[in-house]
């Protein structure tokens, strides 16, 4: 049986530990279809950012992070490229348009699609320990 003190200690550890997930784990957690980048599922993801506003992504993402978005046009991929976001997950069953898919292929950015809502997709990743990119940014500042 875990004593009260030990539980607190465990919580402290989980607050500070930086969890890294592979894109394959993300795919499994969010039950994703892979639209681009099947061969890149071994890549490591260090944090996540969820937004439909691309300026928020530019302000609060970190390199090597994941972007969850409902914005399906090419600007979602261009923003990912500019901000060095490593992979994209389109949520709520949305599929990127042809321009976005072509750009993702050109830039070598993996694209996944999940049927979960934004809220549930974020919640599932957070439960697995993946940190918010914004939290990591503020700690580094």
């Amino acid at each position: 049986m875990v004593s009260k003190g030990e539980t607190v200690e465990t919580n402290k550890k989980s607050e500070t530990a930086l969890v890294v997930l592979t894109l394959r784990e993300v795919k499994e957690i969010l039950n994703c279809e892979v639209l681009v980048g099947e061969a890149q599922l071994g890549m490591e993801i260090w944090g996540a950012c969820a937004a439909d506003l691309m300026s928020d992504v530019l302000a609060f993402s970190i390199p090597d992070s994941l972007l969850l978005t409902g914005l399906v046009n090419a600007q979602s991929v261009r923003t990912a490229d500019v901000a060095e976001v490593k992979a994209l997950v389109y949520i709520r069953g949305k599929k990127p348009d042809a321009g976005a898919l072509q750009l993702a292929q050109e830039k070598g950015i993996p694209v996944l699609a999940s049927n979960f809502t934004m809220y549930e997709a974020c919640g599932r990743l957070y439960l697995r320990g993946l940190k918010s990119a914004a939290t990591i940014v503020s700690k580094n500042e």
């Binding site: 300026s55 928020d56 530019l58 302000a59 046009n73 923003t79």
Partner: protein, 148 residues
């Protein structure tokens, strides 16, 4: 142009062309990566120029981005012919925006553009004239310059 200039480039940006929006900044980013600038500096330049490029696409008829880099310092000037900014002080506030629904559908126009550019620059200068256009100058210190 002094002796240690690495790059002196000029790009045209076409207003209203949402399909092409972002091409200049992503091209510039590739060039800087090839030259070997520090990745953090490359990211700051890419974010600043992308936001500035989107502003030209959204609010101006046309614009020009002039880019100069030495190993120590990067200077970016974006000049556009367009409607200009009525109240620069307000435009610098996060969340203030005059964007249309079309711009928001593109994922922009949330009132974060100019603040994002300022956040990523070491020096930020902006002047604007109503009905004529806007001039933005961004300086980014490249620190120890390119990787050896």
């Amino acid at each position: 142009m002094n002796d240690d200039s690495l790059l002196d480039l000029e790009f045209e940006i076409i207003g209203g062309d949402f399909n092409q929006a972002g091409r200049v900044s992503t091209r510039l980013k590739s060039i800087l990566k090839e030259v070997g600038f520090n990745p953090q500096v490359v990211r700051r330049v890419a974010i600043s120029t992308y936001e500035a490029e989107m502003n030209v696409v959204m609010y101006a008829r046309r614009g020009v981005l002039r880019f100069k880099a030495s190993p120590q310092r990067i200077s970016i000037v974006i000049e556009d012919e367009g409607q200009g900014i009525e109240n620069i002080e307000m435009a610098m506030k996060e969340g203030y925006s005059t964007a249309t629904d079309e711009m928001r559908e593109m994922g922009f126009g949330a009132g974060m553009g100019l603040p994002n550019i300022k956040r990523n620059s070491d020096r930020f200068e902006i002047t604007s004239e109503i009905g004529k256009g806007t001039r933005l100058k961004v300086t980014i210190i490249a620190g120890d310059g390119t990787r050896s």
